[in-house]
Assembly symmetry: C2
Homo-oligomer: 725 residues x 2
Amino acid sequence: MSFANEHPNLILTKDGVEKIRANLGNVPLFDESLAAIKQEVDAEIAAGIFTPIPKDFSGGYTHDRHKLNFFVAQKAAMLYQILEDDKYAKYVRDMLFQYEAMYQDLPLHPQERSYARGKIFWQCLNDSNWLVYMAQAYDAIYYYLTENERDALEDNLFRPFADFISLENPKFYNRVHNHSTWGIAAVGMIGLVMNDEELIQRALYGIEDDGLEIGGKDNDGGTIKVEGQRKGFYANLEEPFSPDGYYTEGPYYQRYAMYPFLILALAIENARPELKVLQHKDNVLLKGVNALMNLSDADGEFFAINDAQKGMSYHKESLVTAVNVAYHYGNKNPKLLSIVQKQGKVLLDESGLSAAMAIRDGKAKPFTKKSINLSDGKDGDEGGIGILRYGNEALTLVFKYAAQGLSHGHYDKLSYSLHEKGDEVLQDYGLARFVNIEQKGGGNYLKENTTWAKTTIAHNTLSQDQTKHFNGNYDIASQHHSELYFFDDSNENVQVVSATESNAYPGTTMHRTMALIKDEHFEKAFMLDIMKVSSASEHQYDFPFYFLGQVLDMNFQYESPKSLHPLGEANGYQHLYVEGKGKPSNNSTQFSWLNKGKYYTLSTVTQNSDELLFTRIGANDPEFNLRREAAIMIRRNDADTTFVSVVEPHGSYSPVSELSSNPKSNIATVELVLDTQAYTAVNITDLAGNTQLFILANDDASGAAKHEVKINGENYSFTGPYFYQ
Amino acid sequence: MSFANEHPNLILTKDGVEKIRANLGNVPLFDESLAAIKQEVDAEIAAGIFTPIPKDFSGGYTHDRHKLNFFVAQKAAMLYQILEDDKYAKYVRDMLFQYEAMYQDLPLHPQERSYARGKIFWQCLNDSNWLVYMAQAYDAIYYYLTENERDALEDNLFRPFADFISLENPKFYNRVHNHSTWGIAAVGMIGLVMNDEELIQRALYGIEDDGLEIGGKDNDGGTIKVEGQRKGFYANLEEPFSPDGYYTEGPYYQRYAMYPFLILALAIENARPELKVLQHKDNVLLKGVNALMNLSDADGEFFAINDAQKGMSYHKESLVTAVNVAYHYGNKNPKLLSIVQKQGKVLLDESGLSAAMAIRDGKAKPFTKKSINLSDGKDGDEGGIGILRYGNEALTLVFKYAAQGLSHGHYDKLSYSLHEKGDEVLQDYGLARFVNIEQKGGGNYLKENTTWAKTTIAHNTLSQDQTKHFNGNYDIASQHHSELYFFDDSNENVQVVSATESNAYPGTTMHRTMALIKDEHFEKAFMLDIMKVSSASEHQYDFPFYFLGQVLDMNFQYESPKSLHPLGEANGYQHLYVEGKGKPSNNSTQFSWLNKGKYYTLSTVTQNSDELLFTRIGANDPEFNLRREAAIMIRRNDADTTFVSVVEPHGSYSPVSELSSNPKSNIATVELVLDTQAYTAVNITDLAGNTQLFILANDDASGAAKHEVKINGENYSFTGPYFYQ
């Protein structure tokens, strides 16, 4: 055996504890974190230990109580190590023995919804959460227990628990999926504490013969087993993470999957440093932390790519772990310290101490987020997420040209969201779920997640013939991804990302180019959006803008129905009411709105035959599961066509001063002045009569390629894929 | 002449300026305020002086430019006095002469919407704003100007300006109305600077013979002249302010009307101290500041009583004046200083210096808002506003049983809003207007203000037969007010306000009693609402709850329509879509929702024949002028009936921790256990089986009255109007 048989050695180590004890009282952020946890744990100890018979879904009493138990036990065990007060070890021991007494006789959890039911919780996933934390607790009080006590816990609780979530639930355990990462971390961590080589190997490499058939779906519609499926820690580390550290399900789930990855990696690092897991795949785990930080808005809230509950941010407890570990075990990046400062607390381990000491010593630097292109896919060649940022997040564009994103993926190729500082301007709806709120479907995914949130029409991208991309077929969607055309953030004033998608609608190719442009003639940076669609046959194209805020005005006429009817029957359309229907009165259709004290205007090139629709989410939603939010949508029947739009933030309004500054668009017209197979050119004329010209080379993204284009009698020559002047 | 002919002597005084100069650099908040204003004014001086030909509505360029001019000129003039730098005086002089050159030839403003059009702005109201500020500017640079310059300004600008807004616009000037207060202040202040006795008398006592006919309406539907109408400063001070300092139009307009009152009073105080205007009507002006502070939520935002734009707060510039003046000229209340601290700036005059010095010297005390009952009406006998607060604003109830509130009043007798800290839980909709946003109807009142915001059904009160209180007739409504039954905040754990209304629907009497109760069996304080309705004949009663947030669940069945239709044809009903229609399945109907991370449950006593409606605002709103917000509504056909409801805040939810605490109601049943002419009794049974009994004596509110009531065979005896146990 290569690792030292001593305890604690999982997250806390003997060395780490000694350092912590030596520095107590001298590291403000660490001391505050310790005091806060001590207060919380002391209150729980005073309240007593409760291990009710499992009964409820998430949000219900028994679920929440058991969840609180493992959080508190882990914290109490840390306190035992740091403060050397036996009352904390006794509390953990007593709690563990209450579980030991009940576990062997526990049937499957009575709630039957999960494809992999747990015993303490309604799904194995939560049981695995429990073991990840309890393994840490056990490790920290290991030597407080007698050998008999340890044997009893291991034989009657931990080993059967680990076997249950793995051998007895291979459909949960033996996948590449965020669920599996928790299972693997749980088995691996308790294996390391128990020094049980079989469990350790099962964590690293999965179950060899799982007896699962190919196919079969989980509750989210994800396929449980595909041909040639890999499994275990290495597979889960290698496959869903791209070389840039992007996790294919999106940041909401990356945040969830990172914790077990990091905590297990850390445990292995402590116990078996020779495996160098933290350095595996070119430091992908530490890169993942950096990617995740970059997948957040100016307030630290994660972008709602795929299934994602809005409001989740890097203030989450598990992100404290991620950032502390990335700082301490990475290259001590001082910019991470400013995030630790915003989090306002640290882990009670060596990495937390390290971060807190560095902050005390004035080493923190601002974490300034820049534009970044994050590849998707195991090898980084399955599309990606392009994030353009202007002016310290004054304007941020999140452009999705990624792979499907496993079972939490949405059908929205080439979609985007737009953000001004911490406020979403054009939204990605996120998921349809109230996580852990029992009254809402047990806190689980609601059926509207499938019928609305995952659909194409729920997103800021092109819908064809009222269908979903890939017809909403998960297996087909999982075989494809969009292709990056180019990403260029070399000039802060004109940043461009461009990608193509040719599989979402067979026979139709979409090429979308999005730019953030700061022009001297404009108060703020604006977004330019060129969606070039090519198809052999005519289709109905719907092109929505999910604006948030209050409608101000527009330059077209529309009719308002007396009664509201759904826009369609299926594919998400059944959830949209039509609040207005109009026709362009101008080739530059304009629409403006106000959101959180800021003005926005959409200027978009329209044709006389276009229809303009005002829609509102909420039809066929009898349980009020959806937010009543709006969109403006262009409907066009055509084969080849190009949608060109500018979204222009401007001015501000305060309900306190009641001053309205710069409330109107600066754009007179937007024109598509050239649109051939080779080139697309857009002219933006502002109110002062200045013209801004953007030319895109459609066929050659090479930075060295030279282009000559004639537009309205003028010759333009440029090098590289675009021209702006 | 009793006042000293020296300058400045209006807001700044010679003594005040000397004190300020002597303390420069030693009073942090004053120095910061000065630096901020200097920066702003210097930037404006650098940009140049612009006095465009008047053209736009509020929100448009010429409006905003002229508005900025008077703000900046006043500030520049203060800087001239304090810093003794001639460039500030020169700037003000040059600007005034640009106005002098244009004023005599200016026609009426080209926008014709106002009942009293201005010259520089579209309404006399804004012209008066201009003169209030410019009078201060003129006073401060008086001795910088030559006598010839002063003569030119007075003859060609100030005197004709003052005559225009008064003599030429008596319908604007000669009323008791917030518009008039600005006109009066403008005329009075320029009169004081010019030492023009005629103008001063016109300000104090109005225009004797105004030639106005009885009747005639302004743009808001207010009557311009009623029989025996008083006018001038004293009338406007005496009539709309109650002895408690409540301004009858509500806090949004009180905030607006306070400034000219205070600034004129201050100017008179400086020039003619013997008039003791600040002490007039038992210090009503200083009481008004205190009332206004109390009419705000935990974030300092004013309650949306009557016409009110949400978000307006005591951070408004004019409230800085109000609080500074109230502090300095009042009894130096140290609690006001904590509001000055929150405002973060002070006036550049003696009162601002005084407040800033007191803060520097550590004198500030928290402004802890308590429950307060504010009478309405000149003599305090026309109803009022009862505000109940529990636990440092953890829960706040704003109960309206006031008079009509002049032309900005809404038809909502016995309505309320409920607030948890700074978040509105059950809302008052406020106004339908985007103040100063030109795109939205020139920034003026929208027609939906009349068709929706002012209606009865837009409020949390009783609507009968789909009509408005007083049938929406302003003249009739103006003759009536509700009557206080009692207000008792002596026990913080059971606070009660109760009032009656017998004129809103002739033949029907409403008696509403609302309580905030903190019971040991409940996590948080809850609201109890008893609305006892008595009528000789049967009516359709609608009883809505305008909750804000997301629907969670309910204990009744309802049908959801496939298409949304308006609930009615008129009186606001045409703006409500029906999103669901159901029947109680229980005598205790329950409905819960989630708002800003906090849970709420409504438990209300229902009858089998009741109808339960889910409504959403937005029907017949083709210009998207209304917010798409929801209500749950009880519809009952009856003659005498009592609506009994509990609104129970509980628990919390965080999208970061995803922890859901205490998400369910603690109430098993709410029962109306007795309801006679003399007594109404409500029993609340919680989940643990504890019963909470509330008994109300309907006929005798005397604190000394003794009552004996038999309920379900038990005898209860109590003294005073209610019993709770």
